[in-house]
Point group: C2
Chain length 306, copies 2
């Protein structure tokens, strides 16, 4: 486990759940700062219809404003053929499609059944692949659904199989509402990796109940070495406004470095990005490493209670 | 791992690092509420000289104000013979002695070398044991010291040996400044339990860098089934004011119940305690389960952004 891939989703999954709408030039600066801090995979936005996610309405503008950086992959979420066309007109490197393992959550999210969503995604993936773009897949609510509770594993396994069959190169397993606990993650991955290779899987953990980091640790133990996270721990939960968001990139990196994993990310530079964004949004971002970094810096500056 | 003992240290380790000084009747009410929520081990205060920790200056008064509850053990920290005498005049059930694995931290904390501290503790433990009281031991900074950095394991092992030899029944291993990471905890416990039985050990993790819960999980995996925590995640870090405190009892219990461990604690009742204390202290306590519980309740009441 000496190589772990961190997928920074703060600009997409983080911002889509925040009330504050950041201007496109601020987002561009954040993206550039994150790349300068050493982030190599960066999900920058979503090409859903601007009406559905106003904070990401500037998707095309943001994607076009970024200069390519050697060794960095940018990615955007694509809901359907229309979104794909908009995205293909920008220089974003890769795409991602998404659906829910839970029927009800999928209907609420994209107004379609899972069965009706799959052909839409297949069309997107096939067209994108033809145009030379790699496509990642997201499966939401695999560890629990806000409407249905537990989601049977065979459902997730079958959806993962369909996605791989379409040509998706990696599937990110989402604990969308942050209910998963470590033994659940271990047992889930033990069963799922009998059908889907661990190398095709990523872990996407939300910290709604504080378990995101331990779930990420267990995923690593089970051979899943790609993990999604958001700088500062950005992003809330639409089902619990005020709750914590994605696992914080800072906290994940601190843990990984303590485990001897080289991440290539400069933790100090990353904390500076998050602090600036927190100030801009007028809130304290939930990352614990960020809080401790901020406290230590204030102490050094002689203003412990700023 | 179907039995885990949770030692609630919020009233002691939590409050000793908080600026707000709670009146004794509020503390008594908290203690009673915690017991009513199902907490079975409760560290209520410290009999250090009131000058050193003003928030705990009411130690004797608090200890005397509590009525014994069937099945609940109360405990107080004892620094020396004088503290022991004060504590023995109260009905507190058990005691705890403490020192640091790091020489510098111990000197800063108790103004004595480790070698000079051990005889003081031995006197306390022997006298307490003679008076029919069980004594727990705390070893601080075992995973890292704010002054010395890494602390060699043989140092901790030797201190643990001394404590057991005095008659201490359990040793709580403190990640005082919250620097530990899971592989470190695993390797540390693998080595330490060659000399000290896991059944005599407890884990005391601070969440300064977000790793407390994953460290607790690893400790459980290594056979350490007693864990310290504070309701709401109370307690900061004197070396980083504003950073997070002890692992939150709520988050620990949520994880344990997801692992099929029966804790006997009513999570809903516990969140009510923490919410009340947070309101009283005028701050949001850091527990993530608490945040999600609060958010869900506000949503139900129709005030999501209260």
């Amino acid at each position: 486990m000496d190589r772990v891939t961190i997928v920074e989703v703060g600009l997409r999954d983080g911002l889509q759940n925040e009330e504050t709408i950041l201007p496109v030039d601020v987002k561009r600066e954040i993206a550039e700062d994150l790349m300068a801090a050493g982030v190599k995979e960066l999900e920058i936005t979503s090409f859903v219809h601007p009406r559905w996610i106003p904070p990401l309405a500037d998707a095309a503008e943001l994607a076009c404003s970024l200069s390519p950086v050697e060794g960095v992959t940018t990615r955007a979420l694509i809901p359907n053929r229309k979104g794909l066309e908009r995205a293909l007109a920008t220089p974003v490197d890769e795409f991602a499609v998404f659906l829910s393992a839970s029927e009800t959550h999928n209907r609420k999210n994209v107004n379609k059944s899972v069965a009706d969503t799959l052909p839409v995604l297949r069309e997107v993936v096939e067209e994108a692949t033809t145009r030379g773009k790699r496509v990642r897949g997201y499966v939401s609510t695999v560890f629990g659904c806000p409407y249905e509770g537990e989601v049977p594993l065979p459902r997730t396994a079958s959806i993962c199989g369909e996605l791989l069959d379409m040509g998706v190169y990696e599937i990110s397993l989402g604990d969308t509402i942050g209910v998963a606990t470590p033994v659940q993650v271990r047992e889930f991955l033990k069963a799922l990796t009998k059908e889907i290779p661990a190398g095709c899987l990523a872990g996407h953990f939300h910290d709604t109940r504080g378990t995101a980091l331990v779930n990420a640790y267990v995923a690593l133990e089970m051979g899943v070495t790609t993990l999604d996270s958001a700088f500062g721990g950005l992003g809330g939960c639409p089902y619990a406004p005020g709750a914590s968001g994605n696992v914080a990139t800072e906290d994940l990196i601190y843990m990984l470095e303590g485990m001897g994993v080289e991440t290539g990310v400069d933790l100090d530079a990353l904390c500076r990005v998050s602090e600036k964004v927190g100030r801009r949004m007028g809130k304290t971002l939930p990352s614990k490493v960020l809080a401790s970094w901020t406290a230590t810096r204030r102490l050094k500056e002689g203003n412990p209670h700023e």
